[in-house]
């Protein structure tokens, strides 16, 4: 996939065109994954066609609360973001890294499982989610060591972005400069436009792979009015953000306040359940478990998502370095919003709001950051 900054081709398709697009991707051998209604939520899963999409549904998100609601129209992408990010596809929650077998002669053979999934076509990826993948790329592909399984899934993926038509109660991509319009990192980018009986999508072609697929999809050139309409939709969304985060000097603010009493305050509320890190599209930590079998002939190394909220995460000989809840919450938030910048050159937060929505007790990192900003330099009792 390539970024195309100039001469972006803009065309318009209708809902039949969208169905054609999904079919063309499936025929091209992609595993087509997109939004669909399951478990009273809009999740990302395999989709068979346009009928799998959450047509006419939206999501209401607040701190620690999520509910589906009916829309007044038949929008295919009229929701905000799903409970789980796309990272579960590129960075699976549980993955066997290798298996070792000892044969009867005592020789050892190590094998690595073949990647069984993909290539993926991701349908309806939001701008913040594309940014999140770019952040994970830095971790998995652009450091001194490459995660080859991740890199293979990533390079094969086809991304159909979706410029947001509405913002949710916990969204703050505008603060993080990551949305609501996808600027790069996609093969195709759609903006859904519903105007009375007219239901169309403006399509921006972002790569050669995108252009090749569009050859198979009936479309027409976008008019100046349609381009304007799409821009107005994204602009309206930008004005609807449910949350905001003041990023001015945020890195220094958090790094200078490790003993702020707010860390103890949030520790009274935090469950250390790790949901925030599981739903975060950029959190990349994992642990490995080594398993041996009863007959001592086979061993496996399995990688699983891990979290800085567990005791094992910071366990070294003798105990856990971050035993208190305050130290674990501080580690997570300070890494996400401040130390990440030193480590990878960007913030670790894209403003998708998942950690706020999916915290069972509704802890809001924008509120925690604002509380520290309101009284910087305070010291807790320790």
């Amino acid at each position: 996939m390539q970024d195309s900054k100039a001469d972006v081709t803009r065309v318009v398709i209708d809902t039949k065109g969208l169905q054609c697009l999904l079919e063309a991707l499936a025929q091209a051998g992609y595993r087509v994954v997109g939004p669909t209604v399951r478990d009273e939520a809009i999740v990302y899963d395999d989709i068979a066609g346009i009928e799998s999409l959450p047509v006419g549904w939206t999501d209401r998100q607040e701190a620690g609360r999520y509910a589906l609601e009916r829309r007044g129209d038949d929008a295919c992408f009229g929701y905000v973001v799903g409970p789980h990010s796309w990272k579960k596809f590129l960075f699976p929650p549980v993955e066997t890294l290798w298996t070792a077998r000892r044969d009867e002669a005592g020789a050892m053979a190590v094998s690595r499982p073949e990647p069984s999934q993909g290539p993926f076509a991701f349908i309806g990826m939001r701008a913040c989610e594309i940014e999140a993948i770019a952040i994970q790329d830095r971790v998995f592909e652009q450091g001194p060591y490459t995660d080859t399984a991740y890199a293979a899934r990533r390079s094969d993926a086809f991304i159909v972005a979706l410029n947001c038509g509405q913002a949710g109660g916990t969204c703050f991509c505008v603060s993080m400069d990551t949305g609501p319009k996808a600027k790069h990192g996609f093969d195709l980018a759609l903006t859904e436009m519903i105007d009375g009986p007219s239901h169309r999508f403006l399509v921006e072609v972002g790569s050669e792979a995108g252009a090749r697929i569009m050859v198979q999809v009936p479309h027409e050139q976008a008019s100046a009015g349609q381009v304007e309409m799409a821009e107005a939709i994204v602009e309206r969304t930008a004005g609807q953000m449910g949350r905001s985060l003041d990023t001015q000097g945020l890195k220094e603010l958090l790094q200078d306040n490790p003993e702020h009493p707010r860390w103890d305050d949030v520790a009274m509320r935090c469950l250390t359940c790790a949901n925030c890190t599981m739903v975060c599209p950029t959190c990349f930590c994992s642990t490995v478990e080594d398993h041996s079998d009863l007959t001592n002939t086979e061993a496996q190394r399995v990688r699983k998502w891990d979290s800085c909220f567990t005791m094992d995460y910071s366990y070294i000989h003798g105990g856990s370095v971050r035993a208190s809840t305050a130290s674990r919450y501080r580690q997570w938030m300070t890494h996400k919003l401040a130390n990440w910048i030193d480590q990878f050159g960007t913030s670790g937060c894209v403003g998708c709001g998942r950690c706020i929505t999916w915290c069972p007790v509704g802890i809001d990192l924008t509120e925690e950051a604002a509380a520290i900003r309101a009284a910087p330099g305070e010291k807790g009792s320790g």
Binding site: A41, V43, P93, T272, V279, T295, T310, D312, P360, V361
Partner: protein, 256 residues
Amino acid sequence: MTGRPKLAVWKFASCDGCQLSLLDCEDELLAVAGAVEIANFPEASSAIVEGPYDLSLVEGSITTPHDAERILAVRKQSKFLVTIGACATAGGIQALRNFADVKDFVAAVYASPQYIDTLATSTPISAHIPVDYELHGCPINKAQLVEVISAFLAGRKPAVPAHSVCIECKQRGSVCVMVQGTPCLGPVTHAGCGAICPAYRRGCYGCYGPMETPNMPALTREWRQLGADGRDIRRALRSFNAWAEPFRKESAAHDD
């Protein structure tokens, strides 16, 4: 260790479900029998080999004076002793007696209460003897049991995480039921079951007992926000792991 290590399975006050999970390891059972000598397992075989035993699995809680003596003898014969299940690790459902007067129960249940010789409390094995490892759950997860036995044989640490059920729930791809309005014990409960109940759209029942660092007051505050009252909270916490300290203390805080 020379030869195969000798395995013994002991039963105290319990339903047998946890030790039966060993027999339920159909695919692995032959491998278990090949790797260890099943020396004392009355549920599986009437052939009893005398101790000492290399590995003892202990199911059940201590509820009678006789069992309080017997567990001391088990410890003496066991090099490595693992308690399995909520009864053995927390006192089990029968620890509900600890919140009331056992004499009232005995009088209500038995026609001839004079024949009943029982303790006032049901307590975990660790309240009576040193325990080398505790495997939680009601019932335990058989894959985790095989993992504990495999780890024992290989001399390594078992991969049995003590974090919340939420991590397993998210790894499984379930949608959080609590954020959707259903009170759930998952955030304070020890992982191990694979987050079964939320996968079927139910709140967690806490079968695996408290996780490593449970924040009980924070969870129950949210339960009240979701409409649960003190009785709901008390009942949820007073089940299989009622006597586990974090659950016990929090349930007492809602005695309203």
